[in-house]
Structure formats: structure tokens, C-alpha cells
């Protein structure tokens, strides 16, 4: 055990530590007692600050840690599981892939542009810290409603939020606009393609938008770097941006609910500099090539504090640093401020003693600051000096392993919605199903997201085989035959109705999206967005979600290699839906066999691959229908439960897709999700000038809405040349998957018949014009075409 030096000086500005001060630091009286016990004395103010950030929910995972242990994290491909800056899997040919998803929810509400921008910056640093060059990003975004819907009051009642008024809608527009420009500005400048992702709207996110960024990079298997300090006497080097007062207590802020006046916390949000990050990327990768770097970690949440004690703890060594050596942007900064600053674009690295100059030369070339600020010690203690005087002396493990762990109380909970279809809802009477399909296609969650994704550079690096709008992103790996698939999914509404089942669906859908390209899903990362964990029902939902994720990841062979937990997503006591967001990575061995999402030409056969073992009963379908987009958007209702999910069948479906893909028998494959089969079929036609003529069958007592718009999981719409259909049926049968013929691709017209009655019929162009540009119409933004003056040739 470590002995403590009696020479610890109180920070000059230290006031006596009062109960108020402890509370302001987000620490409970018990936690403070524990600090005193660990140190064997009262902490200095700097030490109090350090404990407060490291023991915050954001850094310590104190509420979630006991549950996260239940997630599967191993497979033969996993090189690095949770606990590092990013997870890493082996992808063959001597290459590995580093990837992770992270949230920046709280900052994005306070300052949407910078909050989202620095979210992208943070996740990119996590990737290149591992030695990997980022090659793709995606985002999962959630906002409040951006348009009035049929029955706002009833929807409002469901989530506890009031009716959606114009002011709230405007606020949501501006959040969306700010977040999207922030993501665009950072990623575009940095030069990493954004392959899309998902954007969803639900009233519960109005006060707590979710901004989850998913990044992926590649690194040679034998050139991976870890965030581990080693070698007593080795120099500790600070590189990148200078330290300012921005972001102090960002991690603590992210560990609280929003109250009245939380906007005043805006100074806690950092400001991003993507240009500096680009230089940092190139400089770090080049410095790593010198062989002089022992370990490296980015300064993200809790900045210098976190990187110092975590690198020490992982390496079983101590680190001593001097504040006077830290490059500072402002004058008169105290040790407290320097240690807690969350200024962006900074890295801490440990180099081999005597080889510092090799590292400095690289950073100098890229015009970046690099200074030795300390050294590695043998005793496992983090020491901070200011003008030579000790201002903090804390055993690393006190900040990491010994951080509080809570088994928060849990209380089973059920959404306050009818379990069955309410009597006043009637299906099967209305005959305007074509109109309903158009409304659904134009609805916020289903409509075209081009206004968002065209603001992102999706093609830089010239690897993008499938970008925004496809089921999954697909990037080739130059110099190999392979490509990597990635998708991100989550369904908060389903998790609200059934947290465990909803969470399994998130994994299944993300993996299914990857599988649609022909790639084999191999690993996952998760971002767990929840309300206040001190509420027993929130903690229960969290625990249920972990069980759902664990079951699905286990069954689908996609272990979780890391991720992020974002709690306290509450404003004025109102929480968000439990929203686990899952990113899945897949490998496509032969990139030239990639399957397209859209119908390719007229005269192809359309089939449905389905994992559903048997037709569900009419009652079961009705109960599940309450969780659909149709129920939400057209009926303004929410009831029942998410669709059932057979994970073993789902896994078989993915294997079947992989085999069909590698046999090159498919012309297209598209996942059937929001809006059900009718929406999936229509989406396959958009942008192709190909239509579809489809004949469906409804069981006894099953309304056409259930057939068209029901959201049964485990279904993929495929098309093929007619002479391939027998082979496809055979392969599907071998995997225990049904391949049901639906119809044919035809010129321009979209027709669906149920039991020989035509229920939907419209030209594809009409459906497409409902779907395309709908988001722009809701946001009231002029299209760029309309802004372009016809005559600008005036001098």
C-alpha cells in the first residue's frame, strides 16, 4: 500500500471544504467520507476536483458497472474488448478494425453545434489513439417532434410531455439544424466519410436530444497502441491544443439532470477545432511509426486527470506531472482548472526515455505543441505539482478501480399504455391504404434524410461502396479484397414498451442491416442512453436492456467490444425512453460481391426472406401493431408490445444472407423495418425508375394494415433474376429460412394486392415525391435549387 507524503500542500485558492462545496462537486457525503478514508486526510481543492470528475457517473460507470459485466465481450476475432479507448477486432490480411460509439447528449442540448462537433472529435480521437486511421463515421440522432401529428395530445399523454406547440417544434428544428451542421463541420474538415446512420423523432427527446457518434478505423494488427504507461523514468509528453478553461466539469455536468437555468452551463461545453484534430491525427500516426511511443491516450472527458490516472493504472505505474509545463491558452490558470479542463484536441503520451526528440520532431513538422510535463514513477501514485509544490497525490486505483460502485435499487415497471389494441381503434375498414402509405413515407421517422446526409462528406478517402440511404455503410479496404460494413440502430419506443425485447431488436436490426450487404456481422458497440439511475424504475429498465443486449449479442455472434453509458438524460424530472443504440460491424470478404439495397431492373423476381417461424395469430399481430410507425403516425396511438423476436432464427437469416451474397444470386436486399413491408418495398423502388407488382396473402381475420405496415422483425426484401429463385429457395430452406415469392419488378407502377384485391396502387414517382424532400418541407427550408438565382450574370 502507498504511504502518503505529509508534504501535500493545499491548493492556494482552497477554501475549507464545506458540505456545499462537496455538493457542488456532485459528490455525496458518503463518497466524501470514502475519499478521506482513502487519502487518510482531507483532500486539497485540486484533489476534490479530481475525485469529483473521476467518480462522476460519466467516468466511473458507478451505476452501470455491475450490469455491464453481463455483456458478452469475447470471440476469436476480438483483439481488445471494453476498457480501452476503443474495441478492436481482427479483420484478416493482417488488418484490425478499431471502433466505438459514444454519446454527446448533454453538450448538444446546451450548444448543438459545438456539442455535436466535439462529440465527433472525441470519438475520432478514441480511434486514432489506438493507432487506427478513422475510415468512416455514422450517427444516431434523436430529437423531439419536428411536425405536428394527428393527435398530439394523446401522444403527449403517452410520454408525459405536454402537447407539441409551435415553439417546441421550432426549438427542435434549431437543435436538429445545429447538431447536423456541427457534425458536418467537424467530420468534413477532418476528412472522414460520414455514411449516414439514423435520425428519429419522438416527443420524449425534446428536452434531451441524443447525439451518438459511431466511428471506425483500421490499423495493422501488429501496430496497435494502448493507453498504458510503462517504464519508470520515461517522459510523459503532452501534445496538441493548449489547455484553456473550457469544459471544466463537463463530465460532472453529463452526470446530472437538467433543471431550470441549465443553459447557464453553456460555458461547460467545449469548442472544437477539426483542423487541429486533423493535424493531431497525422502527427500521432507518424510519431507512432518512430517506435519511440510506449503508450498514448486522448484527453476526453475529465481531460488531463483521466488520461494521467488511467494510463498509470492500466500500466501498474505512477505518473508525476508539473502544471507549469502544461501549454496554456489562458493566463493565471490554477492546477484545479488545468487538471479539470476538457479542452479538445489534446493527447497524452509516454515515450521511451532518450527518444523524446524523435517524437518532438514529428509534432513540430505538423506545427503542434509537444512538451514533456512529467515522468513515469514506480509507485502507482498520481502526483500533480504546481510551481514544484505538490497539490495532489492520489493512488491511481483510488480514482479507477476503487471508485464507488452502486447496486442501485430496481423496480419493475410497465409502460402506462394499453396492453392490447384499444377498442376504439378499428382496422380494415378504411380503404385509403395508398394515401396511408404516402403519409407514412412522408413522416419524420421514415422520410428521406437527404437534407441531413448531403451536408456530410460521405465519399472522402474514396472507399465508400455504400453510403447514406443504404441499409448499412460499406467501405472497402484498399490493398485487400475486403470491405467493412457498419450500421447503427435503436428503437426507444420499443424499449419503452419492453426494455429487454426492444434492446434485442436493436442488435438484431443493426446486424440485419449489415447482413443485407452480404457482410457477416462480427462485433458490436453500444451506447446506452437513459434517464436518472437513482430512480429504481430507470435502473430496472437499464438492467433489462443489458439482458436483452446480452442475449442478442450472444445469439448473433456479435460481442460488445466497448461503448458508452449516458445517464441522467432528464429535464425537469422527465426522462427519455430507455434508448440503447447499437453499432454493428461486419466483414465482407469479397467486396465485389456487395449486395445493393435497391431493385436493379424490371423483370426480376421479388421475394421475402423471413426468420419468422410461423404465421402469428391475428391477436398477436394486433398487439404488436401498437408499437409500429403506422400506429404512431397515422393512428396517433401507442399500445401493446414490440414484435416478437426469435434470435436463433435471426442468426440463421444472417447466415443465409451471407451465403446468398457470396453465391452472387441476389440483385438486391433491403431490411424490412419502420413502416413494415409496404414501406420497405416502396423504398426499394426509389431512385431506380423500377416499380413493383406484389401479391400478398392475409390470414383469416387479419386486416390489410397489419399485412402492409406491421413491423415483424427478421424480414428482408430481396430481388433476383427469375432463373435464380429456385436456388435461393433451396439455400434459404437449408438455413431454415422461408423465401416467400412476392411478385415482380415492373416499369414505374407500384401495386400491392392482398388476396387478389388491389389495396395499394400508385406510380412510383408519386410515392417518391411524398418521401423525398419531406424533411425539408417540415423544416420549412428552401431547397438549394430554389435559392439559386436564375440570373446572376450582373456585374
Amino acid at each position: 500500500m502507498v504511504t502518503h507524503s505529509p508534504t501535500v500542500a493545499r491548493a492556494p485558492e482552497a477554501a475549507a471544504i464545506t458540505a456545499d462545496l462537496i455538493e457542488q462537486h456532485g459528490l455525496t457525503p458518503d463518497e466524501y467520507e470514502k475519499i478521506v478514508r482513502i487519502l487518510g486526510r482531507e483532500p486539497s481543492l485540486t484533489e476534490l476536483g479530481i475525485f469529483s470528475v473521476m467518480w462522476s457517473e460519466h467516468c466511473s460507470y458507478k451505476s452501470s458497472r455491475v450490469h455491464l459485466k453481463r455483456l458478452p465481450t469475447h470471440s476469436p476475432r476480438v483483439v481488445q474488448g471494453p476498457g480501452e479507448n476503443a474495441g478492436i477486432i481482427d479483420i484478416g490480411d493482417g488488418w484490425a478494425c478499431a471502433f466505438k460509439i459514444e454519446s454527446h447528449n448533454h453538450p448538444s442540448f446546451l450548444e448543438p453545434f459545438q456539442g455535436a462537433a466535439t462529440g465527433v472529435g472525441g470519438i475520432l480521437r478514441d480511434i486514432f489513439t489506438m493507432g487506427a486511421r478513422p475510415i468512416a463515421v455514422m450517427d444516431s440522432l434523436r430529437f423531439g417532434d419536428i411536425a405536428r401529428r394527428g393527435k398530439p395530445n394523446e401522444i403527449g399523454k403517452v410520454t408525459g410531455y405536454g402537447a407539441v406547440d409551435e415553439k417546441a417544434i421550432h426549438k427542435n428544428h434549431s437543435l436538429l439544424e445545429g447538431v447536423v451542421s456541427g457534425i458536418a463541420s467537424y467530420g468534413n474538415c477532418f476528412g472522414v466519410p460520414n455514411l449516414g446512420g439514423e435520425t428519429k423523432f419522438e416527443p420524449c427527446y425534446a428536452g434531451n436530444p441524443l447525439v451518438n457518434a459511431f466511428a471506425l478505423g483500421i490499423v495493422r494488427r501488429d501496430e496497435i497502441f494502448y493507453a498504458r504507461a510503462a517504464g519508470v523514468g520515461n517522459p510523459v509528453i503532452y501534445v496538441g491544443a493548449k489547455t484553456g478553461r473550457d469544459g471544466i466539469h463537463g463530465a460532472t455536468m453529463a452526470s446530472e439532470e437538467f433543471r431550470e437555468g441549465s443553459e447557464q452551463k453553456r460555458p461547460n461545453v467545449q469548442v472544437g477545432d477539426p483542423f487541429l484534430e486533423k493535424l493531431l491525427l497525422e502527427a500521432c500516426l507518424e510519431a507512432m511509426q518512430t517506435g519511440a511511443i510506449v503508450g498514448i491516450q486522448d484527453m476526453g472527458a475529465a481531460g488531463l486527470t483521466c488520461s494521467t490516472c488511467e494510463m498509470g493504472a492500466r500500466g501498474g505505474v505512477g505518473i508525476e506531472i508539473e502544471m507549469d509545463s502544461v501549454p496554456q491558452r489562458e493566463t493565471g490558470m490554477t492546477a484545479y482548472e488545468i487538471m479539470l479542463s476538457e479542452s479538445q484536441e489534446r493527447m497524452l503520451l509516454v515515450a521511451e526515455k532518450g527518444r523524446e526528440d524523435e517524437v518532438f520532431r514529428v509534432f513540430e513538422k505538423w506545427g503542434l505543441d509537444a512538451f514533456t510535463i512529467g515522468h513515469v514513477t514506480a509507485d502507482g501514485v498520481m502526483r500533480v505539482r504546481e510551481h514544484g509544490e505538490l497539490v495532489a497525490e492520489i493512488p491511481n486505483t483510488a480514482l479507477t478501480d476503487e471508485a464507488p460502485v452502486y447496486r442501485r435499487p430496481m423496480q419493475p415497471w410497465q409502460a402506462d399504455v394499453p396492453r392490447q389494441m384499444p377498442a376504439h381503434v378499428s382496422l380494415g375498414e378504411k380503404q385509403e391504404l395508398t394515401a396511408a402509405l404516402k403519409r407514412l413515407l412522408a413522416s419524420p421517422n421514415i422520410c428521406e434524410k437527404r437534407w441531413i446526409t448531403e451536408q456530410y462528406d460521405s465519399m472522402v478517402q474514396t472507399n465508400t461502396l455504400a453510403g447514406p440511404g443504404a441499409d448499412a455503410g460499406l467501405v472497402r479496404i484498399k490493398g485487400t479484397d475486403r470491405a467493412l460494413g457498419m450500421a447503427v440502430d435503436g428503437n426507444g419506443r420499443w424499449c419503452y414498451l419492453d426494455p429487454k425485447l426492444g434492446a434485442s431488436h436493436a442488435v438484431a436490426e443493426a446486424a440485419r442491416n449489415v447482413a443485407c450487404t452480404g457482410a457477416v456481422p462480427v462485433a458490436a458497440t453500444n451506447c446506452l442512453n437513459f434517464g436518472n439511475p437513482e430512480k429504481p424504475h430507470v435502473m430496472w429498465k437499464f438492467s433489462q436492456v443489458i439482458d436483452g443486449l446480452a442475449a442478442a449479442c450472444e445469439a448473433l455472434g456479435t460481442p460488445i467490444t466497448g461503448g458508452n453509458v449516458s445517464l441522467y438524460n432528464e429535464t425537469l424530472g422527465e426522462g427519455i425512453y430507455p434508448t440503447p443504440v447499437v453499432g454493428v460491424v461486419g466483414i465482407l470478404d469479397d467486396a465485389s460481391a456487395a449486395v445493393q439495397p435497391k431493385f436493379q431492373e424490371v423483370g426480376c423476381e421479388i421475394m421475402l426472406l423471413t426468420a419468422a417461424p410461423a404465421a402469428a395469430s391475428a391477436d398477436a399481430l394486433k398487439n404488436e401493431f401498437g408499437s409500429s410507425e403506422y400506429a404512431r403516425e397515422i393512428l396517433g396511438e401507442l399500445w401493446g408490445s414490440p414484435p416478437g423476436l426469435d434470435l436463433h432464427q435471426e442468426a440463421a437469416l444472417h447466415r443465409c444472407m451471407a451465403e446468398l451474397g457470396s453465391r452472387r444470386v441476389l440483385r438486391s436486399a433491403h431490411d424490412c423495418s419502420d413502416g413494415g413491408l409496404a414501406v420497405a418495398l416502396a423504398e426499394c423502388c426509389f431512385g431506380t425508375r423500377v416499380g413493383a407488382s406484389v401479391a400478398l396473402h392475409a390470414g383469416a381475420g387479419i386486416a390489410p394494415e397489419l399485412v402492409l405496415f406491421g413491423e415483424d422483425a427478421g424480414r428482408i426484401v430481396i430481388s433476383c433474376d427469375p432463373d435464380r429463385s429456385e436456388e435461393i429457395k433451396k439455400v434459404a430452406h437449408q438455413h431454415g429460412i422461408a423465401a416467400i415469392p412476392l411478385g415482380k419488378t415492373v416499369p414505374e407502377q407500384f401495386t400491392v394486392a392482398i388476396d387478389r384485391h388491389t389495396v395499394v396502387s400508385a406510380p412510383v414517382s408519386e410515392l417518391e415525391s411524398a418521401w423525398a424532400r419531406s424533411l425539408e418541407r417540415m423544416l420549412h427550408v428552401e431547397t438549394e435549387e430554389r435559392l439559386v438565382p436564375n440570373v446572376v450574370q450582373r456585374s
Binding site: A184, G191, V460
Partner: protein, 231 residues
């Protein structure tokens, strides 16, 4: 025959240009660091896309002062081949090697998408293998691509057939709908008086392999390699 790809801090399409020249066109290619005056005996210089020096000031406004640009200017003025793509076009305008300026897109947003451009003149080393009026499907990705010059210059560009690419629709009509960013007279690319310096906003290097969705951009590199071989 050797190509040089200039690297400024913040260039991010430098590797893409290098890839298309080295791997797709199979030509010798090297990177040229911004702090060097030495063009390493390259026969053609590419100023790639990206955000040189962050573009926090006017795009290209800082890059033009870098040592490599002094060498590039000298090279260009003595007839050397210089191709500026996207940010590279902006840098060439700032450096005075091409006339006019690239303003913020009319829609005020960054736009990344495939567009169509029409080849207006085949009398350049960059388009000599194309047909006049040929429509190329190539992507754009920029915030400042809204080309502008004053009317006398515009008249001169037209008279001297120095407008090399115009935005158009799929059928090759240079309409307002086909103009993504508000550029004057649908201008997507121009050349200098000597026709050896070309700047264009679209990214031909992103449309040079079938798996990336279009091979049309390769027409530019094909032309260039062909022209150099004949020299």
C-alpha cells in the same frame, strides 16, 4: 512522367489523388510538402481537396502563401501542368493563377452529392480525350463552390473558351436545377490563358473506379496522362 500531389496541413483528399494516379492510372506519383520549394522534377502538379490550414479564413487564403505555392506559381507560369480540385481550385484562385473567386454555396450548406457536368472544351490537357458536350457524373463536396467573376472576365472566359466544365442536368442542359451551388453561368471548372492550369469544384478522383459509382472522373486523368505522353 511524374505527378506531384501537394500536401498542406488540412489537405484531406491528398491520399485520394495519390491513389487514383498511382494505383488506378499506374503513374509515378509523389507527395509535395507545403514547406518545400522543391517540386522534385514533377511534370504535373495536383492541388488536392480538403481544408488547407483549416479554411477558417477565406478558403485558400493562407495556403497561397506557402513555399510550395511559390514554386507551383513559377511552374505554372512557365507552362507547367497544374490541376486544382475543390479546395485546390480555391487555392489557385487565391494565388492568382486562375481568375475569379469561390463564394459560399447559395444554399449556405455544405453539399456532398453526385452531379452532372458538361465538358465545354476539349482544348486542354485535362479534357483532350473527352468529347465536347460529353456529360460526366462526378461528385461535389464543398461549402464554397459558388464561382464568381466580374462581367468583363466572364465575357473573356467565354470568348477564350476557358469555361471547361458547366454544371448541367443528366441530359446535358445547363439549367438552374442542374446548378447545385449558385455558380455564375453554371461554371464548375475553368482554365488559365495558357490552358495548362485547370481548377474544378467536382472531385474526378472520387469517380474513377466502377465500385465507387462512376468512372466518369477518370476521363480527366486519362486525358492528362495521354497529353503528357504526347509531349
Amino acid at each position: 512522367m511524374k505527378f506531384g500531389v501537394v500536401v498542406f496541413p488540412g489537405s484531406n483528399c491528398d491520399h485520394d489523388a495519390y491513389h487514383v494516379l498511382g494505383t488506378v492510372a499506374r503513374q509515378p506519383v509523389t507527395f509535395l510538402w507545403h514547406e518545400s520549394h522543391d517540386l522534385q522534377n514533377c511534370d504535373a502538379i495536383i492541388i488536392p481537396g480538403g481544408f488547407a490550414f483549416g479554411d477558417y479564413l477565406r478558403t485558400g487564403a493562407i495556403a497561397r502563401f506557402s513555399p510550395v505555392m511559390q514554386a507551383v506559381s513559377k511552374f505554372a507560369r512557365s507552362g507547367g501542368l497544374v490541376l486544382g480540385i475543390c479546395n485546390g481550385f480555391q487555392v489557385l484562385c487565391e494565388a492568382g493563377l486562375l481568375p475569379g473567386a469561390l463564394m459560399r454555396n447559395a444554399g449556405l450548406k455544405f453539399i456532398c452529392k453526385f452531379v452532372h457536368v458538361r465538358v465545354e472544351s476539349t482544348d486542354t490537357p485535362y479534357t483532350q480525350a473527352c468529347a465536347r458536350g460529353e456529360v460526366l457524373r462526378v461528385p461535389i463536396a464543398h461549402m464554397e463552390g459558388n464561382y464568381f467573376c466580374d462581367e468583363p472576365m466572364h465575357a473573356r472566359l467565354q470568348r477564350e473558351e476557358r469555361i471547361i466544365f458547366r454544371y448541367c442536368d443528366a441530359e446535358g442542359r445547363a439549367t438552374a436545377e442542374g446548378n447545385p451551388n449558385g455558380a455564375l453561368d453554371n461554371i464548375a471548372g475553368i482554365c488559365n490563358e495558357g490552358r495548362n492550369v485547370l481548377g474544378l469544384m467536382p472531385h474526378p478522383e472520387r469517380a474513377s473506379e466502377a465500385e465507387l459509382g462512376s468512372m466518369d472522373g477518370f476521363r480527366v486523368f486519362e486525358s492528362l496522362v495521354g497529353a503528357m505522353a504526347r509531349q
